[in-house]
Amino acid sequence: MATVRDYVARIEETCGEDKSAVVTFKYDKKDEAIAKIRNKAQLKNSLSGIIFEFVFQDISFRVFSSGKVVFRGINKEGLHDILTALLL
């Protein structure tokens, strides 16, 4: 059974951004993960095929084509829940 760990290489708390986290997808899974997010979340804004702003369950976050996602104002449990909902 697939888990969030199958997609996520690491999660780092950002330095300076309160309760923010940078999620880095595994290199070989990043395209699949981003495709899943595109299917489930609402695209609000994008630029140059590099940065995409999505909203999902009233939470706004930014996805980068390099396979990183920046979540702001979210705690660990909330982050786990949203990743589970987006990726699984």
Partner: protein, 371 residues
């Protein structure tokens, strides 16, 4: 580094065989090179460390733990990197001395009046960054050192951001201690140096215990005790097998920089910074530059923000174009509190950067402004 591991790889000061002699020669040559580079009086004043952080910890533990007591004061500034705050905080909790912090002006420059007003006969050590790792502001550590010495305090200079970028002369500065890291000056990670005046190093206690840092360890069968005789500085502070490949590589990096000339490097970086500011300001409308606009007070470090975007958004967008900058607090949270910032993006320049790269950098910033 490849040459070291292929041809000279052995431990130092341990064996009589050829490889050990070669490794020892390289390691001690590196020490002499560093001493010459910062104009230390004697090579025994150079201690190899993992980097500036370890150097501050070494002085905090080997000197501070044994010399600072309740009623004493250590003076730092609010622009310090966390590595020049936290070690003193740890020792302060053990010994009960007070840490005071000199204020920083809103433009990121040191408030010299406030700083000097906090030096008294209670002050035993002043520790200050030569160049801020956030704003690039160059502090007049010679002036502060003179003031500290007049009050009987020692002067520690955090040279992590100055030694790689400008000529630094420890005797001209009259610094008691000065630390820097190899990885900021074309060297590898995990190697750096601590300079300390010989008479201070001689009276200091060791930092860590192990091989190399002792002359004798003798067991007395009558008392069933071990007697230990410390080695002389610098080896007294270098327990265990050192980073020999790192010191050798740092020597090569220093010789490379010396061949270019540190004054030339400083001049080039200042030119790049001024060019970057001019270029970015001319093409970006949402750009905010933090800190002083007086470039004569700065090195090649430029903190900035783009209105409406977090520093991490900016850094990740630039990363897509192979442009790598730092984002966040840069381990200097108190200074960001003064700037009233959650975080900042930081561009920094070195000898390998070009005006063409800055043009490209500014183009990408202009692009991200459209988001």
């Amino acid at each position: 580094m490849k040459n070291f591991y292929e041809n000279h790889n052995a431990n130092v000061h341990r064996a009589v065989h050829t490889l050990s002699q070669e490794a020892t020669d390289l390691h001690e040559s590196a020490r002499r090179t560093i001493a010459r580079f910062i104009n230390a009086k004697d090579e025994s004043e150079i201690i190899f460390v993992r980097g500036t952080t370890e150097a501050v910890n070494l002085v905090a533990y080997a000197w501070g733990l044994h010399n600072l007591k309740k009623g004493d004061e250590v003076l730092l500034s609010l622009m310090e990197h966390h590595s020049n705050i936290v070690p003193w905080q740890i020792i302060s909790k053990k010994n009960g001395f007070t840490i005071k912090y000199g204020k920083v002006n809103k433009d990121g420059t040191l408030d010299y009046m406030d700083f000097e007003s906090k030096v008294s006969n209670k002050t035993k050590l002043v520790s200050l960054s030569h160049v801020s790792n956030v704003s690039g502001v160059i502090n007049d550590v010679k002036r502060i050192g003179k003031f500290a010495h007049e009050h009987g305090a020692l002067m520690f200079v955090d040279g992590a951001q100055s030694v790689p970028h400008m000529p630094v002369d420890v005797r001209d500065l009259n610094a008691d201690f000065l630390a820097f890291s190899g990885h900021k000056m074309l060297g590898p990670t995990g190697i750096g140096a601590l300079y300390g005046k010989k008479h201070l190093l001689e009276t200091m206690e060791p930092f860590q215990g192990g091989g190399e840092m002792i002359k004798d360890v003798t067991f007395n069968p009558k008392t069933e005790r071990v007697g230990i005789d410390w080695n002389d500085p610098p080896w007294k502070f270098e327990a265990g097998t050192p980073n020999i490949c790192g010191s050798t590589a740092l020597m090569e990096a220093i010789e490379y920089l010396e061949n270019i000339g540190m004054s030339k490097i400083l001049k080039y970086e200042k030119m790049l910074t001024e060019y970057a500011v001019k270029t970015m300001q001319s093409c970006c409308t949402k750009l905010v530059l933090y800190g002083t606009s007086d470039h004569s007070l700065k090195c090649g470090i430029m903190p900035f923000g783009i209105i409406g975007l977090s520093s991490h958004d900016v850094a990740l967008f630039l990363d897509n174009y192979g442009i790598m900058i730092r984002s966040g607090f840069h381990c200097a949270q108190p200074l960001h509190q003064i700037f009233k910032l959650q975080s900042s993006a930081r561009a920094s320049f070195y000898i390998y950067n070009t005006r063409e790269e800055i043009d490209r950098f500014a183009e990408v910033l202009k692009e991200i402004e459209r988001f």
